[in-house]
Symmetry: C2
Subunit: 197 residues, 2 copies
């Protein structure tokens, strides 16, 4: 078929709608918060019908989580940095998160999502199954590589990953202090001291 | 004056009203959440007028924080356990918190307060000034005692206290896993490894 003859391409149109929906969901969570977001509002901003959204997603939690995964590039798969320098890998993960949270719009989005899971067990489960669980597992796998290489001791890695991320989230969610790259360095240094053989 | 002649005792009546207000605030945060609580609702449940509340507290954040401090006995002063056994002192603090959070009504109260500070900078500041800040300071002071005794190294204590509490709050707020006394043991063991001289 000659190239200049335009025919509808349902797959491409679908992908365009999907992207518009995820963008609308991202913007609305940042602007009004997860709790006030409605499927109607997302549909209206994305320029699609409500039924288009419900064809792909069962509820707003599922749309927003897909939006979050797309935003953090986690939809392409969760891979923890694995070079031959454990300390650098750990620092990279924390400093990247500091960088993301410096974006006020991203920070509002993520804070709103974490606020919503306090009263929404189903959303909490979805977030854990789709993001937090796999990410904690990827982190533990990185630490297991280090255990096998004799770089760190064979410690309780469940508690270790909580120490690693927890310090960071504690400061951010309880708003007890600023996040900085120096802070990331301190956390990584203490964690490595805790784990050294 | 003969004892059987009852006279009004304004101080005692004030204290009764104050207690009734704090109890009403505690119950309402657990039942409807911080955000839906109103001064009118507290006044009505406590059987006092709104003006009585405003005479003692400038806003609902201040009432609820006083209720929280009374609930956790923190109004009597924040003292970190300081025996000659650092590990036992640290474990006691975490396991006490696990015990408190096992009370569903207390857990709802505290979760609601921490949810509210995500969108309320003023409340976040009040919580930090009146509770979290002094408590982190008390924790660092306990660690300084251990540094002076040569039990732990002179590490970055700001990061150390965040590791200590953070792991715990991470698991609770991000709902990634259960809290247990075994978990407290693991966290304390890792922290002490990180801090040993």
């Amino acid at each position: 078929m000659p190239e200049h003859v335009k025919t509808p391409d349902p797959a491409r149109r679908s992908e365009r709608s999907r992207q518009a929906i995820l963008t609308a969901a991202t913007e609305l969570v940042s602007e009004v918060g997860y709790q006030k977001l409605t499927i109607e509002g997302v549909a209206s901003r994305a320029g699609v019908g409500k039924q288009t959204i419900y064809r792909w997603w069962p509820d707003k939690g599922a749309v927003v989580l897909d939006a979050y995964l797309a935003l953090t590039n986690a939809d392409a798969g969760l891979t923890f940095p694995t070079t031959d320098d454990l300390e650098a890998d750990l620092r990279l993960v924390l400093t990247s998160t500091v960088g993301q949270l410096a974006d006020a719009s991203f920070a509002r989005f993520y804070r709103s999502l974490l606020t919503a899971i306090q009263n929404d067990e189903k959303l909490a489960r979805q977030l854990n199954e789709r993001l937090l669980g796999p990410w904690l597992e990827a982190t533990k796998e990185r630490l297991r590589v280090a255990v096998r290489a004799g770089e760190i001791a064979d410690a309780d890695l469940d508690a270790a990953v909580d120490l690693f991320y927890g310090s960071f989230y504690y400061r951010w969610l309880l708003r007890t202090g600023p996040l900085s790259t120096e802070y990331c360095d301190s956390v990584v240094a203490l964690l490595l001291r805790a784990l050294r053989p």
